[in-house]
């Protein structure tokens, strides 16, 4: 190294350090990209560009024939029904499990008092059930259940209910434990029951977040039900699968536009619910 130039006031003395940190991050990230077989140059190879260009050009204009729009409407309805029924069932599954797993609603932890080991065992068991439910991806459940229910959205509903029940339950109990838990504890200390402590002590503070998370999960369920359509669970996914296999880009484009509208709708619904609960 030669003699460093005199530090000039117009240069940030920390810039060099930041550049070093950035380079270090890239060096750490690179092996991950290699392991993940991410090869962006394939995107730019002339062969792939031509194929993809042709594929994308086929997306325009979106298919708008009356026949196809009828099919699309039916598939959208099926996807919405699958996501909504699946999320509703998941909710029914998640609420009692979350209620059992939530530490801040435990009476026996005060003191600790009588029944603390039983309480701990119950909470651990509920947590374990929630973990098992969400450990297996809904796609795997769908593949399995399609064999029992046959092709169609029925399998997707149950697959969603199982996996999403586990996710909702886990996050519900975490939301209920992370807010201000003193109101519920004060009620329990005055002899209130667990259900009353939940409604008078925890929900007033947590309802907004719980509702927003539930709607977000419903949005995820819409996307997941599309993916499950690819394995035969009906709805938009099955339609998309058919269009892609027939290389009909216009139809795929119309389906993607419907996805976008569904996500926008979920966002609006969430905003309305949050405002209503505020």
């Amino acid at each position: 190294m030669n003699a460093a130039p005199p530090p000039s006031a117009s240069r940030d003395p920390l810039a060099r350090r930041r550049l070093g940190a950035l380079l270090l991050a890239l060096i750490v990230l690179w092996p991950m990209l290699v392991i993940a077989e991410f090869k962006p140059q394939a995107l730019l190879a002339p062969g792939s560009l031509r194929v993809m260009g042709g594929f994308l050009a086929g997306f325009l204009p979106p298919a708008l024939s009356a026949d196809f729009l009828g099919l699309l409407a039916h598939a959208t309805l099926q996807t919405l029904a699958m996501a909504t029924a699946g999320t509703a069932l998941a909710f029914v599954l998640a609420v009692p499990l979350a209620f059992a797993a939530t530490r801040s609603l435990s009476i026996s932890r005060i003191g600790p008092g009588p029944g603390r080991w039983r309480g701990l065992a119950m909470r651990t068991a509920a947590r374990g059930v929630l973990t098992v439910l969400r450990a297996i991806p809904e796609l795997v459940w769908a593949l399995l259940l399609v064999r029992a229910f046959g092709l169609g959205p029925g399998a997707g509903v149950l697959a969603l209910a199982i996996t999403y029940g586990g996710m909702l339950g886990k996050v519900y109990s975490e939301i209920l434990e992370s807010g201000d838990t003193r109101p519920a504890r004060a009620l329990l200390e005055a002899g209130s029951g667990r259900v009353a402590a939940l409604f008078y002590g925890l929900l007033p503070g947590a309802a907004q977040e719980l509702a927003s998370y539930t709607v977000y999960r419903w949005e995820c369920a819409v996307r997941a039900s599309v993916v499950m359509g690819f394995v035969g669970a009906g709805g938009l996914g099955q339609l998309m699968d058919q269009s892609m296999k027939m290389l009909n880009g216009g139809e795929a484009c119309s389906i993607l536009i419907v996805f976008l509208l569904l996500v926008l709708m979920a966002d609006a619904l969430s905003a309305v619910l949050r405002r209503w609960l505020a």
Partner: protein, 276 residues
Amino acid sequence: MTEEAALALEDVGLVHANGQRALQGVTLRVPRGARVAVIGPSGAGKTSLLRIAATALRAGEGRVELLGARPWQLRARPLKALRARIGLIHQAPPIPPRLRVITAVLAGRLGAWSGARALASLLVPTDIAGAQAVLARLDLSDRLFDRCDRLSGGQLQRVGMARVLYQAPELLLADEPVSALDPALADLAVGELIAQSRATGATLVASLHAVDLALKWFDRIVGLRAGVVVFDAPAAAVSRTMLQELYATEGSALPTQAPGFVLEERPSPAPPVICR
């Protein structure tokens, strides 16, 4: 023990989870219907004492008896029933900001109500008149349907007090219940606690920061310092020297809420009685 006391602590000690000792060798016996004020400098263990009496904390040492029962030997259901008969007014009211005042007050009876009634009362308040009456005693009846986050600190503290008055417990505990109130309101609020005790026969144990309030309203004063009972005497027998020793103030002012409070040095008519 001759007759059943509302609160009987025998050689009670408490060490917090962080290893800090809060109480040591506290023996205190409060007969039913008695009204006792606990005073002492900040950090003396007043809150710990009250939380033990509210079955919110379990003392590591000694013997605790509340309303004739030893709480930590009870099974879950009788313990829950005992807790419904004990009410603690918290210094910082544990009320969710989104709750309406009426709901926050009615929550006082959750220990007595069935789960179904509790849920129904969320949809349509079951006892509007009862909540209204108790708020009126604390000069708050006009805020019945307001949300708690619209209230000032002093108003919220009175809502917390109204909740416990509505609970109508047999053992009424109050932890610095008037710390956020101005002197006139504080006097009114402590007066209402005393009135509640007189009307329902409830035993009242309150920790107070203001010595003048304690001496004005209570029959018996317990001085607590560094987790130890320094004195336990009828209010009339509490002398300036005892208070100065308690607060370790040499000649400077004692903590009072109204200015100009003077407790003249009086020749003690009898040595301070230690009530056990």
